[in-house]
Every structure is written in C-alpha cells, then in structure tokens.
C-alpha cells in the first residue's frame, strides 16, 4: 500500500506481511535451490521442471504463497501437502497440485521437500486433533526422510519445531539446507537492499520489481 501511495519515492521492501506474502524468503529459497541443484553452473539458470513439495500450514503461510508465485515463474512444479483444514478452500484455483497424503507425495520422488512450521495456536483451533497425529501424518519423520532420493533437498524456513513437523534425522542430514537458507537469507536481503537503494534506472524500483 505504501509503495503505491505516492507519498514516498523510496523503494519499499516487503519483509513479510501477515499471511499474504514474504518475497525475500521466496528469493532466498529459490536461490538456495539453484545453488544446490545446479552447483557452480547455477548462474542464469532457472528451476525448470524441478518438483517442489511444500508441506504444512499452507492457509496461514506467507512463505507458501510467495514460494508458489516465484517457483512457478522459474518453471518449477509445486505440490502442496496438508490436511484440508490447513489449505485455503479455493486452493484449486492456484497453479499447484494438492495432496492430503504426504507419503503419496514423497513416493513421486520430489527434488525438494519444504516443511513449514506448525504454530501452536493451530492446535487449539481444531485444525487437527493433536500434535502427535499431525506429526504421524504430515511430519518428515526419519522413516519418510529415508525414502527420499539421494539428491533431494530438505528445506525449512525456520524456526523449526523438531519432533513435530520435522525429525532430527531430516533436519540435520546432508540434504538439509536449513542453515544454508539462513546464510543465503543474509546475502539475498543485502542484494535486495542494495538494488532498491541504488536503483537501476534512477527510479526507485517498486515492490513488484523487487519480487
């Protein structure tokens, strides 16, 4: 709103607004995927055909939304996995596949599995019966992690609740990018700030240009 108000001529960076969007998180996630999947040859390459599974509280997640829009732009395929209570009722209109069963989604041997945090208040609002059941159905347990292909990435935007949505085995595995995401977040956000302050054509870039 501020960016479009005409009140200021500075760039405005969306650092995460409510349950709407979190563009810099999506940028750092995409950057992390490119570096891991393409290695030294990642510069200039998109994520064409990369299959990403995002698991957890989609309906309340700004990370899920921003990742969907950016990953689709880069050519990746996105599958959301969650109980129906944690998906928007209109999720069918989104350019994503939807599954309720995590094992079915993992059986398709995705390239990336991104786990989202389950906030404690969800447990008191009947989105699911209790944390044990959530963990059993939608948590990335050691057993589920073991079924993943060797090169598959395990991602999480943090902070994690170990034992609920993700097991120690998955979080601390070599496939895990979780600490790398934190480090890449610093670099990506520095780049965003640099570009928005220096501009590219003298004009302040708008929020959408940054995204």
């Amino acid at each position: 709103m501020l960016a479009g108000s005409g009140w200021i001529d500075a760039g405005v960076v969306n650092a995460g607004d409510g349950t709407h969007e979190h563009p810099t998180q999506a940028l750092l996630d995409a950057f992390t995927m490119r570096r891991r999947l393409h290695g030294a040859g990642s510069r200039g390459r998109d994520l064409d055909g990369v299959r990403v599974v995002i698991v957890g509280d989609i309906v309340h997640s700004r990370v899920a939304r921003s990742n969907l829009w950016l990953l689709r732009t880069l050519g990746a395929e996105v599958t959301f996995v969650a109980p129906p209570t944690l998906l928007p009722s209109a999720v069918g209109a989104w350019p994503a596949s939807v599954r309720y069963d995590l094992d079915d989604a993992l059986a398709e041997q995705p390239d990336v599995v991104m786990m989202l945090r389950i906030q404690s208040e969800r447990m008191h609002e009947a989105f699911f019966p209790n944390p044990r059941e959530y963990s059993r159905q939608w948590g990335l347990s050691a057993e589920r992690w073991a079924t993943l292909p060797d090169g598959a990435l395990v991602m999480h935007p943090g902070p994690m609740i170990r034992g609920l949505e993700i097991s120690d085995e998955a979080a601390d595995s070599p496939q895990s990018t979780i600490l790398e995401q934190v480090a890449n977040g610093v670099a990506v956000r520095m780049a965003v700030l640099f570009l928005s302050m220096t501009g590219n054509d003298g004009a302040a870039p708008t929020e959408t240009e940054i995204v």
């Binding site: 709103m1 479009g4 108000s5 607004d17 409510g18 349950t19 709407h20 969007e21 309906v59 700004r62 939304r65 928007p88 009722s89 209109a90 999720v91 209109a93 989104w94 609002e125």
Partner: protein, 447 residues
C-alpha cells in the same frame, strides 16, 4: 407554516402533476394548481418519490457520538431523500430497555429531519444469552416493532426460537444478522480465490446461508415474522426463495453496496482516492462478495425474493478506518448514496422502474417495520413525506456530498447518477440539494 407548491413533478407512474404541500400534508395533487403566498418549487424534470424509509441505520447515539449522532445521521438521511430511519440497537448503552429507545426517539423528534424509529435489542446487552425487555420497549412511548442484535448474530438456536415467539406477541419482527460466529472467527473478507491469494482469513458464504436456513425453519415452526438483514450471497437468495415458496413469513433486505461493489476492490483498482489495495473503506460486514453474488442479488430484488434495500449506514471515525485491514472497523456510510446506487444498479439496468424503487425503498420497508405515516403513495391527504430527485444528473461523489459526521464512503471518486434536490418531512429538510439548518427544521421550528 409555509405552503409549498411543487410544480410539474413526475410521479413514479410517469404522470406529471403539481403538488401542494400545506401543514405537513399533501393538500392537493393536480395540474395548474395555484396557491396565494405559496413558495414555488420548479420540479420540471424531477421525480417525486415517496419519502425513503431505511430499515437499517446505525445512528451511533448514545455512546458513539464521535462517528455519528441522531442529529447528524438524520441530516445524512434527509440528504439522501429519506424521511424515516430505523436506528439499530448496538449503541452504548445498548437499546435494550424502554429508557434507551425512548431517548433515541426523543432525540430524533428534536432533530426533526426524519422519523427516527428505534430498533430494540433481541438479547440483553447483545450478549445472546437472555431476552432483553422486549415487551417494555414494545409498549413504551417508542412503540418498538423491530428487534435486532445487528452486528451480532442471534446464534443460539433456543434463544432465537424464544425471541421469535415472544416478539410475535407484539406484532414485531426479528431482524437477523445472519453470521454463524464460529464459522467466521477472525474473518476478514469473502472466502474464495481472492482471500486465498491475499492471505486474509475467509468469511464463507455458508456462515450466512446456514443461519438463514435454520431461521426460516424456526420462523415456520413458531409462526413468527422473520426479516433477514443484508443478504450478501447467491446461496442466501436461494434459501429465501425456497422459504417464500413454502409460505414462510420471511422478508429480506440487500444493501446498496452489495448491489454494486465486489471483493475485487480489496485488491485495488477502484477509482482514486480508493484505488489502493487493502483500503479498509471496503471492509464491511457482511463482506463484499463476488460478481456472481452481486448479479444474483440484483435479480432477486427485481423478482421480489429480496423485498427491500436497506443502507446499513455504518459511520466510523477516521481512526477506526485509516489503519491496517485486520484492525479496521467493519462498515460504510450509505444514506446519501443509496438512491443513486439503486438508480445505477437497478433502474439503469432495466431491472426496476421507479415505482419499483418506491416499493423497495419506501412502501415495503415501512410495512415491514410498521413505520406509521410513511411509505404511502403521493396523493391528496397523505402525509407530506416525499423527495424530489433529478434522475438526469450525474456527478463524481465526494465528501462534500456527505451530510453525516463520518466520511467512510466506498463511493468517493466514483461517478454516480442522480441527485436529491429536495426532501419533505412534513416541511422541507433539503432544498436546492442542501440540507437545511437545524433551526429551520428541528423541534423548535416545529413549535
């Protein structure tokens, strides 16, 4: 009292006539009338409509005087061509006793711009737990006939049943704000594709429709009159249509904003100055819905499934609106724009003629709310409750055209047809498009 000769007005049936207004009554209707000493109003090209009656107005007083008072809300009503408003009960203190409803009625009489009919609360303190003093309000000097917890749904089915039965004994009607509270916890906007994208908590249509379905069955079971406030979904229309076909005594209203505006405005793109995304002036309860819903509501108003238009005029201070979406208050002002919006959405589209407009904005709301002295066709001997409207005018709506205390209108910057030129509530309250000063209108002027 001055005599007024309204020359060459067009009545709703298309006939042209002169109207002589004397001593608060339409003394004569005819052609070539003259009266010595009468003030003449040239109404060539103007429509003479029966004074509009709003069944759903938030006047805010007592308690909410920062956003509106009975006086300023009455002025807004007169500016919009209204001659009677029904004041909702969610004031502070709540209108749940004879004392509060008599106070509101007295303030309305003192202001003098319109007939103010207080609505009584269904439940004490709007708490939804025990009945308010319905009998005391009905038999008070205010003679309350409409009862509503509006703003809050009477959600407990047993309390709803008892209220319907009890109000029936006083020839009253229960006006239900149909919103299942458990299905709308934290709800911010219509639930659907757009709410998913914007990340705002959804307000599902079923939260409205399921309550209406329950309540028409309860009304049938106990043989009571039920009125549904501000229908907003195509599904609600289907439920009401079914209930009416079954012979249930249900009536329904739609707001002007639900006839024109859609949820898409929340994502931006309205005319400036409301062109930004998340502009809280579009936040309202029930929320703006989809285009399909808007079209279904128009069709239902045209075929009589929806009986009336009611404004749900809901003034709010700037502080309550100029903040982030989730923190902003629900509601829009609507008295000044109701007739132009109905003109645009129903008349210009060919769905209603002007006698249809008089029905949905005057005679039917007066009948449902038992508002005596209002809703009559303009005829010799009838009370002089009427408005002169210029249907050929068109203007960009701005705050200068708002006569109430608050400016939270969703129509600012929008081009709307028509203009209220004069309003008579026994005597003029609006002339030449301007609201007359209180000393010319109020209790003192009426002696």
């Amino acid at each position: 009292m001055t005599t007024h000769l309204i020359r060459s007005a067009t009545l709703v049936d298309g006939a042209r006539a002169d109207l002589l207004v004397r001593d608060g009554v339409v003394a004569e209707v005819g052609t070539g009338l003259s009266a010595v000493g009468a003030e003449v109003i040239d109404a060539d090209g103007l429509l003479a409509l029966p004074g509009l009656v709003d069944l759903h107005t938030h006047l805010r007083e007592p308690g909410g005087e920062a956003s509106e008072t009975v006086l300023t809300g009455s002025q807004a009503a007169a500016a919009g061509g209204f001659t009677a408003v029904n004041a909702m009960a969610n004031s502070s203190p709540v209108a749940d006793t004879a004392g509060v409803v008599e106070q509101v009625q007295a303030l309305g009489e003192l202001a003098g711009y319109v007939t103010v009919r207080p609505i009584g609360a269904v439940s004490k303190g709007l708490a939804g737990e025990q009945l308010s003093e319905i009998g005391a309000m009905a038999t008070s000097r205010a003679r309350v006939r409409v009862f509503s917890d509006d703003g809050i749904c009477v959600s407990d089915p047993l309390l709803m049943r008892r209220a319907l039965e009890y109000i029936k004994g006083f020839d009253g009607v229960l006006a239900q704000h149909a919103q299942d509270p458990r299905l709308t916890i934290g709800a911010q906007m219509n639930e659907g594709v757009l709410s998913a994208e914007l990340g705002l908590a959804g307000w599902p249509a079923v939260a409205e429709e399921s309550i209406i379905a329950r309540d028409v069955l309860l009304a049938e079971h106990v043989g009571a009159r039920l009125h549904i406030c501000h229908l907003s979904t195509a599904g609600s229309v289907e439920v009401v249509r079914w209930a009416k076909a079954r012979g249930i005594a249900v009536t329904a209203e739609v707001t002007p904003h639900h006839l024109l505006l859609t949820e898409q405005l929340i994502a931006g793109g309205a005319p400036a100055p409301l062109d930004g995304a998340y502009d809280a002036r579009f936040k309202v309860n029930p929320p703006l819905r989809r285009e399909e819903d808007v079209l279904a509501l128009r069709a239902a108003l045209a075929d009589g499934t929806i009986d009336i238009v009611a404004t749900d005029h809901a003034p709010h201070t700037a502080e309550a609106k100029q903040c982030e979406w989730a923190a902003a208050a629900n509601g829009m002002v609507g008295l000044e724009t109701a007739l132009p919006v109905v003109h645009q959405t129903m008349v210009e589209t060919g769905l209603l003629d002007w006698s249809g407009v008089a029905r949905v904005l005057s005679s039917e709301p007066a009948r449902i709310g038992r508002v005596e002295g209002h809703g009559h066709a303009i005829a010799a001997g009838a009370p002089a409750e009427l408005t002169l409207y210029d249907p050929a005018a068109r203007r960009s709506f701005d705050t200068a055209q708002l006569a109430g205390k608050s400016v939270n209108s969703p129509y600012l910057g929008r081009s709307l047809p028509g203009r209220v030129v004069a309003t008579f509530h026994g005597r003029p309250t609006v002339l030449d498009g301007a609201v007359l000063a209180p000393e010319l209108v109020g209790g003192a002027a009426r002696g």
